[in-house]
């Protein structure tokens, strides 16, 4: 008899847990959401100011401008194919932050400008270099 009760308890515990996982999935914490949409620049216009989103792309060459007042603040253009969006970022810039670097930024799209509070660079490609790429070796052709 008790075994039945215990099995019911186990099943309800797992059911509750799955409900909890589902709840967190579809009702994320607004201030610090764990689920963030990864958006292409094409779809940027449809995003509301309050939604936290991610963008990926390349830093357009020569666009990095570091603020005179605060050395930690910078502006740059994020490029995805033909499209470019201005990005403002406040924080420590990663080691690999430079022209043409591939970055992922997270933040809000406000007044046609992306205000990011998180910025990641993609890992160095040095160690996955193309074998045909001479510059990835110290090469002497014979």
């Amino acid at each position: 008899m008790n075994q039945k009760k215990i099995i019911i308890a186990v099943i309800s515990l797992s059911f509750l847990s799955f409900a909890w996982i589902g709840y967190v999935t579809f009702n994320p914490d607004q201030e610090n959401p764990g689920m963030v949409r990864f958006i292409s620049l094409n779809d940027l216009s449809s995003v509301t100011e309050s939604e936290r989103i991610r963008l990926g792309g390349r830093i357009s060459a020569g666009s990095i401008q570091i603020s005179k007042q605060n050395q930690l603040e910078c502006d740059f253009g994020l490029q995805q194919g033909e499209l470019t969006v201005p990005v403002n970022f406040l924080g420590t810039r990663p080691d690999l932050f430079k022209d043409d670097a591939e970055v992922i930024v997270e933040g809000h799209y406000v007044n046609e400008k992306f205000v990011a509070d998180q910025l990641q660079t993609k890992c160095a490609s040095r160690y996955e270099g193309d074998l045909r790429d001479d510059s990835s070796y110290n090469v002497e052709s014979i």
Binding site: M35, F38, Q71, R93, Y127
Partner: protein, 654 residues
């Protein structure tokens, strides 16, 4: 010549795996023992050839034969010898060969250790092991051959070199440790499948399997902890766990493996939960393969993964086969997996184990869900949704606390049912202690989750200490031993039980460390030399910025004096900004790196990162983090490993 020999060894081993399986099937059909010995020898040869191939690749790495693509990719002439060895698992094909190498070493141990035992089980155990070996042999033969030549029409004079981030002792130990864990779960899996096929669910092999699982679990735990330690020391974002897909991949089999370690005790002692155990070990092994796949295939963008490759379909196919065969066997053998006894009471050890198992599996599912959600959302909605740490923390904190609670309750319960008197006797002190911690925390102004987690750690710690006390008391009464002698003999005579409790204690310490995360604070700022910045009760003075040139990089060293409110010097820290390959003519090949410096105490870590430098104006860009209680995570890790070693230490036969 040697690369050719390496390739040939791998092909031979692949061919032998088919032959070995054939020999075993002859033995199973005719019960002719000669074929068992032949098949057994075939399995020995497969393992020996795989090990030989690994040493041949190692040799090429050491002599820097850049005609081999792998050697050219991951080492250079300047790479120190030690890191030429570690380059063996730095890349995709090398790490697949390394997987096979570890499996072969484990297989050889199994082959020789159990050659004369488990006569019914062994043929199938070996067949399963050989099939897994064959899978990795297919990968290194057909898809990712580590011996394939450099594809260039010029002479390669020097290789790429190993990423400086990986040139670090911890990073050299972390991957092989984790691999020893991943691969180790193959052996209990092979035994489980063999037991299902031969319909032998006896308790004898379960004991051997518990040891093997514990060995795999030890390495898996140590690997995960080392990975966190490395991230904390090297990556400079102030944390040790980011819920990165690859971290999750190593955590998932750990969770189900831990569940298995617990529930197998019930099968051994009570003959219950047999089906459940079979499912758990299959899931654990599948997750190990899945983890290897995630790490090595690049389907998830992650700091760990390599370039995208065509390993995907092969891995997913193998996983599908494991799951199909496993499901078929469990369903078909359902009748022999029936429990011998029933669970009779909520307040029994059995039900404690059952609930703890459910929680482990639920956490595993939550992690799995979050890990594959980006892929799912892209497939279903056509929109990529990234899942970050906040999701995993929000989901897992309450479930994790529930698990902690059960860690305390379980050991206090008796088998079958716990009498009211025993309940009161065992639980009074831990509960009172938990309440005392709660009150203390409340008056210290601690709120929210930590107001629950600290009292819980108090409750569990008290419960574990009481377990030790009870055991020691009973011994010293029975044998009239003094307290400490009794404690010592108690542990050495019941290693797996009390080793396990020490592991629980380690987990409690780690939870104390995790709770500290709630009080983290950080500040980013720029400062000139001579300036002082106040933050979180400390004053940070930038004394100097010193440029230094070292063999493979240049470094700017920030000299920081840290003072407390009474103007007493707390510590001096020297975080560095480095640029590796600074002499490379191509600026894109130079690699900047921030080497951080940490002042660690029992109460908090002062964590400093030197993220940028402007030498003209003598400005340093710094990030400072105050991370309370992180020390306890590493201490708990040591305790956990120590406890596991005690549980594993062989018992002398009397």
């Amino acid at each position: 010549m040697i690369p050719v020999l390496g390739s040939i060894s791998l092909s031979l081993a692949l061919g032998l795996s088919a032959i070995s399986i054939f020999l075993f099937s002859v033995f199973l059909k005719n019960a002719d023992y000669r074929f068992f010995i032949a098949g057994w020898r075939g399995a020995v040869a497969i393992s020996a050839l795989s090990i030989l191939a690994t040493f041949l690749l190692l040799n090429e790495l050491l002599i820097s034969n850049f005609d081999i693509s792998y050697v050219a990719h991951y080492t250079s002439i300047e790479t120190p010898t030690f890191y030429k060895i570690t380059a063996l698992w730095a890349g995709q094909s090398g790490s697949l060969l390394f997987w096979l190498f570890i499996l072969s070493v484990y297989t050889l141990i199994v082959l020789f250790q159990y050659k004369n035992s488990y006569t019914r089980l062994m043929p199938w155990v070996i067949i399963v092991l050989v099939i897994v070996q064959a899978f990795f042999l297919v990968l290194v033969n057909v898809i990712e051959n580590p011996f394939s030549p450099t594809n260039a029409d010029f002479v390669v004079v020097n290789g790429n070199g190993l990423n400086p981030l990986l040139q670090n002792l911890t990073m050299a130990i972390h991957p092989p440790t984790l691999y020893l864990g991943y691969v180790g779960f193959t052996i209990p899996f092979a035994f489980a499948i063999a037991a299902l096929i031969t319909k032998d669910t006896g308790s004898v092999w379960i004991r051997s399997i518990r040891r093997w699982t514990l060995i795999a679990w030890l390495f898996q735990s140590a690997g995960i902890i080392l990975g966190g330690w490395w991230a904390y020391q090297e990556l400079g974002w102030g944390g040790y766990w980011a819920w990165d897909p690859v971290e999750n991949a190593s955590f998932m089999p750990w969770l189900t493996g831990t569940a298995f370690l617990h529930s197998i005790i019930i099968q051994e002692k009570k003959g219950m939960l047999k089906t459940w155990n079979m499912i758990l070990i299959m899931i654990t092994f599948t997750l190990c393969i899945f983890g290897t796949f995630l790490t090595r295939s690049g389907v998830m963008s992650s700091v760990h993964s390599f370039a995208v490759s065509n390993l995907g379909p092969v891995f997913l196919g193998f996983i599908a086969i494991i799951l199909l065969v496993g499901t078929y066997l469990v369903i078909d053998r359902a009748s022999i997996l029936k429990s011998e006894k029933r669970i009779e009471s909520f307040t029994s050890r059995e039900s404690g184990f059952l609930f703890n198992n459910v929680i482990f599996v639920v956490i595993c599912f939550a992690v799995f869900w979050g890990t594959i959600f980006p892929v799912l959302s892209e497939a279903v909605q056509g929109e990529k949704i990234t899942v970050g740490a906040p999701f995993f923390n929000q989901v897992n904190v309450p479930i994790g606390l529930l698990l902690l609670l059960f860690t305390g309750i379980g050991p206090l319960l008796a088998w079958r049912r716990t009498s009211k008197e025993a309940l009161i006797r065992n639980f009074t002190i831990p509960i009172l202690f938990g309440i005392a911690v709660f009150i203390a925390c409340f008056f210290l102004g601690i709120r929210e989750t930590t107001l629950i987690s600290f009292p819980l750690t108090g409750f569990v710690a008290a419960a574990i200490l009481i377990e030790f006390h009870r055991g020691t008391q009973s011994r010293s009464k029975r044998f009239n031993e003094p307290f400490f002698t009794a404690l010592k003999t108690l542990i050495s005579r019941n290693r797996s039980r009390y080793g396990g409790y020490i592991v629980h204690l380690g987990i409690v310490f780690m939870f104390i460390g995790f709770s500290g995360h709630a009080f983290d604070s950080e500040l980013e700022f720029a400062m000139k030399t001579g300036e002082i910045k106040e933050f979180d009760g400390y004053k940070f003075e930038l004394v100097s910025i010193t440029p230094t040139e070292r063999p493979n990089h240049i470094a700017w060293i920030a000299g920081l004096n840290i003072w407390d409110q009474e103007n007493q010097l707390v510590t001096r820290l020297f975080p560095e900004k480095r640029v590796y390959f600074h002499k490379d003519p191509n600026p894109d090949k130079r690699q900047p790196h921030s080497e951080l410096d940490i002042h660690s105490t029992l109460v908090k870590d002062i964590y400093t990162i030197f993220s940028g430098v402007d030498m003209e104006q003598q400005i340093a860009y710094l990030k400072i983090m105050i991370n309370p209680l992180v020390w306890w995570v590493w201490f708990g890790g040591y305790v956990l490993i120590f406890g596991t070693m005690i549980a594993l230490w062989p018992v002398k036969e009397h």
